[in-house]
């Protein structure tokens, strides 16, 4: 029951009561599926189609089979970007979900003063657009009128510049963590709220401590939500675009045009006019994302069994 759609059992059971299948449901699902076909399915199909062609200077667009894929698989600019987002994923996602988990457990424990304030305040950054979040943090990182400059002045130190090539990935990681910790916290907290309270009372009667309640009741109850949050975070990491793209204005030397696979696709397509190769890179990245997300989901489900 830990797939992104854990409630499959619900509708399936009520179907038996409903009797014969009719087409009526399509009247309700049809509008969604029509637009979905236009903005999801058609572009996917078109992307696959585009990836099989190449624009030549002479002779126009020609069918090249899998040649673009060969090129992508051996393209160091692409794989560097993949490596970068993989590193980002490996470091940022555990930190973010770890903090989200601790805060969700703390709020759910009922042991905080001002619990509702905590819940809303930690969630608020989610409502801030990536553009604003990146501008804000970018300004604060800055040594000119940023907080970092202030700290340096006040303490007489010179902290390393977060917008230098070495640190900019961590700087982006911090922005993404800031943006999405609260959102993930809320997903986990919502999952904790539906744990039957009687379980806690039973645990208390059995003499279980706080820690035991967390490991024996709360964490197992959270597994499904954690898998969902992880899968969404993986997709998000592999899609990384907004934050590095906006930071480029502030740190053009640190963030290159092929910094992430998505930035690479964007610059191939809109600065280089290489639509076919851009489509290929997008397809390969889509396949990698799906494979990793699927593997994590399978693993998360197996652990539960």
């Amino acid at each position: 029951m830990t797939t992104p759609l854990p409630a499959t059992a619900g509708p399936a059971t009520s179907r038996r009561r409903r009797g014969a299948r009719t087409w009526t449901g399509w009247g309700f699902v049809g509008p969604f599926m029509t637009v979905f076909g236009l903005v999801f399915l058609a572009p996917i199909a078109y992307s696959l189609y585009l990836s099989l062609f190449r624009d030549r200077m002479i002779g126009g667009t020609v069918f090249v089979g899998l040649e673009n894929y060969q090129r992508a698989l051996t393209d160091p600019r692409f794989w560097e970007g993949v490596g970068r987002v993989a590193l980002f994923l490996g470091v940022q996602v555990p930190i973010m979900l770890g903090i989200a988990l601790l805060v969700a457990l703390a709020i759910d424990s009922g042991r905080l003063y001002g619990r509702d304030f905590f819940r809303m305040a930690v969630f608020l950054p989610y409502a801030v657009p990536a553009v604003v979040a990146t501008l804000m943090w970018g300004f604060m990182y800055g040594t000119r009128f940023g907080l970092l400059g202030d700290i340096n002045d006040a303490l007489g130190v010179s902290l390393p510049d977060p917008l230098s090539p070495d640190l900019v990935l961590a700087a982006i990681g911090n922005i993404v963590t800031w943006e999405f910790t609260g959102y993930n916290m809320l997903i986990l907290y919502s999952a904790l709220r539906v744990v039957p309270r009687s379980l806690y009372e039973a645990a208390e009667i059995d003499g279980a401590g706080q820690l035991r309640v967390i490991t024996a009741i709360k964490l197992p109850a959270l597994r499904g939500a954690l898998v969902i949050a992880t899968v969404f975070s993986i997709i998000g990491s592999f899609q990384l675009f907004n934050e590095p793209s906006i930071l480029r204005n502030l740190a053009p030397n640190a963030v290159t045009t092929d910094y992430t696979p998505n930035l690479y696709t964007y610059s191939l397509s809109f600065s280089g006019q290489q639509h076919n190769y851009a489509a290929t890179v997008a397809v390969v990245m889509g396949l990698i994302t799906m494979a990793v997300a699927y593997a994590v989901q399978l693993r998360g489900m197996r652990k539960e069994a």
């Binding site: 029951m1 992104p4 854990p6 059971t13 179907r15 009719t22 009526t24 449901g25 399509w26 699902v29 049809g30 969604f32 637009v35 979905f36 236009l38 903005v39 999801f40 572009p43 996917i44 992307s47 805060v103 703390a106 009922g110 042991r111 905080l112 003063y113 001002g114 608020l124 409502a127 801030v128 657009p129 604003v132 501008l135 943090w137 300004f139 604060m140 940023g146 907080l147 202030d150 910790t181 609260g182 919502s190 709220r193 539906v194 309270r197 009687s198 208390e204 969902i228 997709i235 899609q239 675009f241 204005n249 053009p252 998505n262 696709t265 964007y266 851009a278 997008a282 990245m285 994302t289």
Partner: protein, 316 residues
């Protein structure tokens, strides 16, 4: 069947209150502090307070900075106010700079949100209801396709979507932003789970027996029960549309059709272009004006969307 208590989704009180009073009815408290009423902890509050600070300090910085002149931004400590309080002046200048283009961007954003997020919510409510309450040929395929497509990186679709929309002559028009915003797979999923819990099938059958058509049954019987779910989905689609950057970035070239996010980015990059005027004070004040409506919506409607999320999103 993982039958979640259907009352969760239809009651409008907060989940905490409900759970607590239910527990109290079941077992009378013997001690002052129990699993139900734990002792408050100063240490835990302080530790969690670190995350709270992390979340709020940038927002405080933004509010404080919006009150400063450009010189003040450079010359004063970031987290405290400068001598002259220039907030109102900054707001006026933000709204009037470059012939009031910020107001134009605000209206564009509102247009995209009303049509995009509004449409997305409507389609998700209809679709979620269809999936939850009807069995129809291809139902399983619909589920499989939608779930599968969610895993496809949205931005991976950008290039072909751009080329398709360009072929249809839709790029550089509002439709290029609105039409893709109409689809919210997360919203569909949320409404599907929410509907299966909040709308009893028996009620629908009763309405049909009384002779109501499908449309009437939906609008008169089901829709009124879906309130918290609809609020939740519309807030989340609203955030997605209001904050959207990538889609308008590729679709819109004409600054007259920019949403706020793209406009702010343009103002910010203006400083690094040759001969461009640096307007960091306006970027900062504009940023503050951009986030205020969403934060207000979340705070004002929190009772509804939080119960909708608890009932719908991640039930075991």
């Amino acid at each position: 069947m993982s039958a979640p208590a259907p009352t969760l989704s239809t009651t409008r009180s907060t989940p905490d209150g409900r759970a607590r009073s239910a527990a109290r009815l079941r077992a009378p408290r013997r001690r002052r502090h129990s699993a139900d009423r734990p002792r408050r902890s100063v240490t835990l509050t302080l530790l969690t307070g670190l995350v709270l600070l992390y979340s709020l300090v940038p927002l405080v910085w933004l509010i404080v900075s919006a009150t400063k002149t450009q010189e003040g931004l450079f010359g004063s400590f970031g987290l405290w106010f400068d001598g002259d309080f220039a907030l109102w002046e900054n707001i006026t200048r933000t709204l009037t700079y470059d012939g009031g283009v910020f107001v134009r961007w605000l209206f564009n954003t509102l247009l995209y949100v009303v049509l995009g997020a509004g449409g997305a919510t409507f389609l998700a409510v209809l679709g979620g209801y269809g999936l939850a309450k009807f069995d129809f040929p291809g139902r399983r395929a619909v589920l499989a396709v939608v779930i599968g497509a969610v895993a496809v990186p949205g931005t991976a679709l950008a290039v072909p979507t751009f080329l398709m929309f360009s072929g249809l002559g839709l790029t550089n028009t509002p439709w290029a932003v609105i039409v893709p915003s109409l689809i919210s797979p997360f919203g569909l999923y949320l409404m599907w789970v929410f509907t299966s819990e909040a709308v009893p099938t028996e009620l629908l059958e009763a309405a049909r027996i009384d002779g109501a058509g499908e449309a009437r049954t939906f609008f008169r019987v089901a829709l009124p029960l879906l309130g918290p779910g609809i609020v939740t989905v519309s807030l989340f689609t609203m955030v997605a549309t209001w904050n959207n950057y990538f889609l308008p970035l590729i679709m819109i070239k004409d600054p007259d059709w920019y949403p706020l996010t793209l406009g702010l980015d343009a103002w910010n990059s203006q400083a690094s272009t040759a001969g461009g005027e640096a307007i960091f004070d306006l970027v900062i004040t504009g940023s503050l004006l951009t986030i205020v409506p969403l934060i207000a919506a979340f705070l004002l409607l929190q009772r509804y969307w939080q119960s909708g999320l608890a009932a719908g999103s991640v039930k075991e």
